[in-house]
């Protein structure tokens, strides 16, 4: 007799109750309050009143479209770079590393064990003006005599790429690891060249990993403000920096809330378009 048929009535709801209540109270309700706040007018000192102020959204887009565009461009470049760096690496681990696979896998996630802020600060040491990397680049004239890496878009994108790379690599590894190597042998038996076997068999089969990795990298990257803050200057600020300073320094809550909502809406729209293109099961499955 199957357990599924035995559990009837209240059991599933009792199991669900505490977790769902927590998520509704502290995930859904806060989003409601964020929406409510985003339509208010007023200042921190005089207090805010709710008056369907959709102009907050219009104003936010007008004032900060530059930071929005920058967020999505930086996040997009970082996602592509993370894919380019991790695909061959993970491919090598999945197919060539043999019994050492698990060790190499630990090395890939190792950066995640160093506190996020501290590993970002490490790039300050590496890219420092008086550091060896800048010195070398100046010597071979890639950089001018007083050229720098810190405080440039390069530093910010490099930081984002580094910080979120494991989120790209892990799902990629999972999908490559599951590939039945006999399929590749079959492709070669049928006279496919190595390149054709890769393009027609391996790459399509690793698509779920690419999809998951892209999302797991792009979403946190688009909302990031730490890399721009620590490795860049206000010229590299992303929308996250604006939201952060409006909420915590300027105390302009309605405008900060509107910006947060726009960011989330843009990401959700992107997610839906992406899900339509690749199929929903791959996303939630």
């Amino acid at each position: 007799m199957n357990l599924l048929h035995r559990h009837k009535g209240a059991t599933p709801y009792l199991l669900l109750l505490p977790g769902i209540v927590w998520l509704v109270l502290f995930f859904v309700a806060p989003l409601g309050f964020l929406g409510y706040q985003s339509l208010q007018t007023g200042t921190f000192d005089t207090g805010y009143t709710f008056d369907w102020a959709f102009s907050n959204y219009w104003q936010a887009i007008q004032d900060y479209h530059e930071q929005f565009v920058r967020s999505f461009v930086y996040a997009g470049i970082a996602t592509v770079l993370a894919l380019l760096v991790s695909y061959p690496l993970v491919y090598w681990i999945a197919f060539r590393a043999g019994r050492w696979k698990n060790v190499f896998l630990i090395l890939i996630v190792a950066p995640l064990f160093v506190t996020y802020l501290v590993r970002t600060l490490a790039w300050l040491n590496i890219l420092a003006d008086e550091g060896p990397v800048v010195g070398l680049l100046r010597d071979i004239h890639v950089l001018g005599a007083d050229g720098r890496l810190l405080a440039t878009s390069f530093a910010v994108v490099a930081g984002i790429t580094y910080n979120f790379l494991p989120f790209m690599a892990l799902p990629l590894y999972v999908s490559l690891e599951q590939i039945d190597e006999r399929l590749l042998e079959a492709a070669e038996d049928l006279y496919a060249s190595k390149r054709q076997a890769f393009l027609r068999v391996t790459l399509p089969l690793s698509a779920p990993g690419i999809v998951a990795g892209t999302l797991l990298t792009f979403i946190p990257a688009a909302g990031d403000f730490i890399n721009a803050q620590l490795l860049g200057t206000p010229k590299q600020y992303m929308v996250g920096n604006v939201i952060q300073s409006k909420f915590l320094d300027v105390l302009d809550y309605p405008s900060a809330a509107a910006l947060s909502f726009i960011l989330m809406a843009l990401i959700l729209v992107g997610l839906i378009v992406y899900a339509r293109a690749v199929g929903t099961e791959r996303l939630t499955g």
């Binding site: 599933p12 709801y13 977790g19 998520l23 309050f33 706040q37 698990n102 064990f113 600060l121």
Partner: protein, 281 residues
Amino acid sequence: MRWVKRHLLPAYAFLAFCYLLLPIAVVIAFSFNAPSGRFNYVWEGFTFDNWVNWNAPPGIQSAVVKSLEIGMISTIVATVLGTLLALAIVRHQFRGRGATNMLIFLPMSTPEIVLGASLLTLFLNRQIVTGFGTIFIAHVMFIVSYVVVTVKARLIDFDRHLEEAAMDLGANEWVTFRKVTLPLLAPAILSAALLGFALSIDDFVITYFVSGPTQTFPLFVWGAARVSVPPQVNVVASAIFLVAVLVMIGNVLWGLRARRAREAMPAAVPLPKPLTTTEPA
């Protein structure tokens, strides 16, 4: 040319690993640096002083303790909630399944800054004082989804015959759950808890929004980064890193041992042993 071709991929992998591990090496190396001024950017000399006096910078010790406390209690609560959710989703039919899955998936696909900002508006509007309690609430909220995903994966390939066997042998549902289901799920629950703990002690963005005056270790680092980061920050980060790597290695070894034990058994349910056996011990 063939030599180049054959070694291209391993060489690429090697370079990629260098890129991934270089900052870690820098963090650890600079925990032994003896900076003469306030800035710990340039190598000036080797010392153990930072490790011996790791708690010299005011506030660092209490921040580390806070991070550990919050990590522990929010992990325990989130692991329980998440495991229950996973059990309901994998094992039961109920109305609103799709909505439930969506509710669990959404927090993971919302940027942290939006999660932090929305929680802060909730607390501001309901006049809830931010501090330890609100950090705890926030951490449980964002860890739960990861616990569900981890435990769900294990539950899906769970061999239900073992539970049926227990029930055929007269165990009731609760005994079956406690003696069969829970022990078999334990590795997945433990992995979920470890992941949750790691997420909690590393979280900066959400915590930054809801912390009030309370300071966790990442918040301490952020405050320090505005002026100058003492090398003791590298000491704490290196220590966290070493512990995490050891736990990870332990976890992998445990998994290997469990797999070997399973493979050594002829079937999932051990058959009664014949009296005379020629098998090697």
